[in-house]
């Protein structure tokens, strides 16, 4: 019992976070920046921050993760980090030769009050930024929001710095994918291509954090949105932002800056939310939905009908990021399952909590939702009344083991299994994969727990 120290009795905690279901802003900013082609994320803070972010991303993706740091010393913390950042910009363009540097702040540089735009301006005036190269930034104080906020801020910064408007329009649609896997980003692009829609996706970590083994080490892999594409986002017909918390801010900023109308949707996880995504995309772009996509939808519904008897009434506990939880919960309800416990570590707000509550309004069981909460609380709920399935990141495996409940790994980080980098959970195909994973977990358990007499060949 690894978590034997978890008490069943639930006491209100005011000052303490135990087993967090979130982490801090800068890692989200770093991840978003990796979705820009030939971009080197730069952490303006202590050396440890970026070492931790790189290690965590490396463990999740099993890929080299490149970033630089201002390597704050005590002196920088007293006198400000301007000298460090200036030196860093100079060194980075000299040695690592990126097209663009994406600076994010940390709790340290935020608190001492470094003014990043002013420092970047100075670097420019000093001729430290080569012609045709860029430095952009986002403020990402670690003590505000969560890793999702950091992603959102860096994505919005792409709009603030690069999106241009010149009065002309293209047929392209901007897609902001949210804090999701490279495989999910590829799947969104595949669906859009099937509809024949020309898209600009930003950020785009496909083929950055799930690249091939080539025998070569590349600081900057093939993938990522280019600065040219980011500039063109201001000319597009419209923007679809997936996930309010991760993508809403960038879409609204683009609307305000370049008058590109936007729709903010749920992540296309599960049947309903994929329907809405496809519907919005085809209307916005003025195209028809091809038979290929209809077929995928039909297959998903077919599979659900084939297996519904094993899904019915299953109690599920979920922990994850706000945007993911919302769509996922909705999908589970559509599958006749009962999402009963939901925890997200991110402070996503009251309106969000209400929306989440709305998805489970029909569930007859007592539902517990905590925004923001932690995994310790989730475990306590489960101890008081168990569930049939847990969905969460790798850290949920402690709970799954102690309580002997099957776990489907979903979210960030996943440190111990293959799959998330290559197989999307988005769209109808992704929903089919999620369905498969949940069914396998439930049916493996049923096989394991059946007596010899009840053990069934055909299911």
């Amino acid at each position: 019992m690894l978590l034997r120290h978890t008490t069943k009795e639930i006491k209100e905690r005011k000052a303490l976070m135990v087993n967090p279901a979130k982490t801090c802003q800068p890692i989200g900013a770093m991840y978003a920046a990796l979705g820009v082609h030939a971009c080197l994320p730069h952490s303006h803070g202590s050396q440890g921050c970026y070492a931790y972010h790189r290690s965590t991303l490396t463990r999740h993706y099993k890929e080299p993760v490149m970033a630089a740091t201002s390597a704050f010393t005590e002196g920088a913390s007293v006198f400000g980090g301007q000298a460090n950042l200036l030196q860093a910009i100079d060194n980075i363009f000299t040695v690592y030769e990126p097209e663009v540097i994406a600076v994010h702040t940390t709790c340290l540089s935020e608190t001492i009050g470094d003014d990043i735009p002013q420092i970047v301006k100075k670097a420019e005036a000093d001729g430290k930024i080569p012609a045709g190269k860029y430095v952009f930034h986002a403020n990402t104080p670690s003590y505000v929001g969560s890793h999702v906020t950091g992603f959102s801020n860096m994505t919005k910064a792409m709009v603030d710095y690069f999106s241009e408007k010149n009065g002309r329009k293209t047929n392209a649609i901007n897609l902001i994918p949210g804090f999701v896997e490279p495989a999910d980003m590829s799947e969104i692009k595949r669906m859009a291509a099937a509809l024949g829609v020309d898209v600009i996706m930003f950020p785009d970590t496909a083929n950055v954090l799930n690249g091939p083994l080539t025998g070569k080490f590349k600081m900057y892999p093939e993938g990522g949105v280019t600065i040219e594409q980011l500039k063109l986002t201001g000319w597009s017909t419209g923007t679809i932002a997936l996930g309010e918390m991760a993508s809403g801010a960038a879409a609204k900023a683009l609307d305000a800056k370049c008058k590109v109308p936007c729709r903010v949707l749920n992540l296309p996880i599960g049947l309903h939310d994929t329907d809405i995504f496809i519907d919005t995309l085809h209307r916005m772009a003025g195209v028809n939905v091809p038979e290929e996509i209809n077929l995928e939808r039909g297959q998903l519904v077919d599979a659900i009908s084939d297996w519904q008897q094993y899904l019915y009434g299953k109690r599920v506990a979920l922990v994850g990021d706000p945007d993911q939880l919302l769509s996922l919960t909705r999908f589970l309800v559509a599958l006749d399952m009962k999402p009963v416990y939901m925890v997200t570590g991110s402070p996503a707000g009251k309106k969000y909590a209400q929306a989440l509550q709305g998805t489970v309004a029909e569930i007859p069981d007592q539902v517990q939702i905590k925004v923001p909460g932690d995994m310790f609380l989730l475990h306590q709920w489960i101890k008081n009344e168990p569930v049939d399935l847990i969905i969460g990141n790798t850290y949920a495996k402690y709970i799954a083991r102690d309580e002997d409940i099957p776990l489907v790994r979903f979210g960030f980080p996943i440190l111990d299994r293959l799959g998330h980098s290559y197989f999307s959970t988005f769209g109808y195909r992704g929903a089919l994969r999620l369905l498969e994973k949940m069914l396998n977990a439930l049916l493996d358990r049923k096989d394991r727990d059946s007596s010899d007499i009840e053990f069934e060949l055909v299911m």
């Binding site: 303490l16 982490t23 800068p26 070492a51 490149m66 630089a68 010393t73 005590e74 460090n84 040695v95």
Partner: protein, 449 residues
């Protein structure tokens, strides 16, 4: 492969034996803008203290520092598992403005009342140093009220390097020393310092010493317990592994309690045997200890030797690159790899000092590249140029090695099997063999041409 640019300031942190004059610069703060593989002060403190499993470890700061260090290092405990949970004060903007002391106090009280730990460590993070919380005062107050030691660890990330974090951890540990009874400690009693029980390594080492008739008073800090720390001043000798982490504590123990210390490595046959003999030599009044050590080494080496010989056949002539945290580890690795018939073509460390690099230079063959605080471009450049077959490093280096199409061995947090001791040497050989001879490398594009 085109030449990669190397910063002028970095040129003295790279040395090729026989090619360039040796004027290695090290123990420098990393250059701003470098893609260094190093971490911070907090990281140093956290890895040293974390294995003490009946103590509470509370991280005072925003959530990240706690989230990224939540059970990432497999320091095994045979008893309590409290150290595998993640406790944070999760500081918010409000506290950054008005101070985090009340929140810290409340968090400590809640935790201590729930878990009744033997002691509590409170880690300061960057922000705490900036907003000026008096962590020491809060710790003292809680200590008085709850009657357990509550120790402030001064590990603000920006206040130096990982090494300074080791020192902060040792300072905290030292406050516990001397508060326990030393009655039941035998004359031949030692402390094992700088062994963190990754993959159960401390258990292997401890058993060796016990078989020699030496009492292990405490292991710092693998599978550690607060009561062991309290009485470790009763030992006659400190045996220090891992050059950086625990030498500070050994020095303090020497100064205050007059306990001598020796530096050892448990990695590879030669160094492992030497560690046991060195300890036996210290207790020369009891010749039985040396005798038993000799027998132990003989038995253990005989047990693994035939298997190692088999493995050596395949590995002979293969080339290895080493990039590790402390340079001391690199010394052992070089010897162990040579034992397997392998050649070291690159050796580097994050935190080595001048003497370390001189030893490295003397150990290495002509042409070997020696690096201090390297970046990925430098590492990949030399791996390709020197045609390495194996890379030994930590978490951030693994995918890089694989991308280059060569084998990898984690000699850091993420080793899953014990690599220390005689059986560890066999594990190491097997792991290296598995990775270097994996059939996957034949599919790497440049090998298929």
């Amino acid at each position: 492969m085109s030449a990669i640019p190397i910063l002028k300031e970095r040129q003295k942190q790279i040395y090729q034996k026989g090619r360039t004059p040796f004027e290695m610069t090290c123990e420098k703060h990393s250059l701003a803008g470098s893609v260094s593989q190093r971490a911070c002060v907090f990281c140093g403190s956290r890895v040293v203290l974390y294995p003490i499993s009946d103590a509470l470890h509370l991280i005072h700061g925003p959530i990240g520092c706690a989230a990224y260090t939540w059970d990432i290092r497999g320091a095994l405990s045979s008893g309590p598992q409290l150290h595998r949970l993640s406790f944070s004060t999760d500081l918010q903007e409000k506290e950054v403005i008005f101070g985090g002391e009340p929140k810290l106090y409340q968090a400590l009280i809640e935790l201590i009342d729930t878990y009744r730990p033997k002691a509590a460590f409170v880690y300061s993070t960057c922000i705490v140093g900036i907003i000026g919380d008096d962590v020491e005062a809060v710790c003292k107050k809680v200590s008085r009220e709850r009657k357990i030691p509550v120790l402030a660890v001064h590990s603000e990330g920006f206040k130096g390097t990982k090494k300074d974090g080791y020192k902060a951890a040792c300072d905290a540990l030292f406050q516990l020393v001397g508060t326990g009874s030393v009655q039941d400690i035998a004359p031949a009693g030692i402390n094992i310092l700088g062994e963190f029980n990754i993959g159960g390594e401390a258990w292997i080492i401890k058993k060796y010493y016990e078989r020699m008739g030496v009492q292990v008073v405490s292991v710092m800090t693998g599978d550690g317990r607060v009561d062991e720390i309290r009485k470790l001043h009763g030992a006659a000798l400190n045996v220090v592994q891992c050059s950086g982490a625990m030498t500070f504590l050994a020095e303090m123990l020497k100064e205050k309690y007059g306990i001598p210390y020796i530096r050892v490595s448990y990695f590879g046959i030669d160094d492992m045997a030497k560690a046991l003999y060195d300890v036996a030599d210290h207790f020369e009044d009891d010749p039985g200890i040396k005798e038993r050590a000799r027998k132990l080494v003989r038995d253990e080496v005989n047990a693994i030797y035939p298997k190692l010989k088999e493995i050596r056949k395949d590995l002979s002539g293969k080339r290895a690159a080493i990039y590790v945290g402390g340079a001391f580890k690199a010394f052992s690795l070089i010897k162990a790899l040579r034992y397997l018939g392998m050649k070291v073509i690159l050796a580097g460390s994050q935190t080595g000092n001048k003497i370390d690099y001189e030893i490295l230079r003397d150990m290495c063959d002509e042409g070997t590249v020696i690096l201090d605080d390297a970046n990925p471009l430098e590492l990949s450049k030399y791996i390709i140029e020197k045609r390495a077959d194996l890379f030994i490093g930590g978490v951030k280096e693994r995918p890089m090695a694989y991308k280059l199409g060569i084998g990898f061995c984690d000699h850091n947090h993420e080793r899953k099997i014990p690599l220390a001791g005689f059986e560890g040497m066999l594990n190491f050989a097997r792991e290296v063999h598995t990775s270097v001879t994996s059939p996957v490398w034949q599919f790497v594009p440049f090998r298929q041409r």
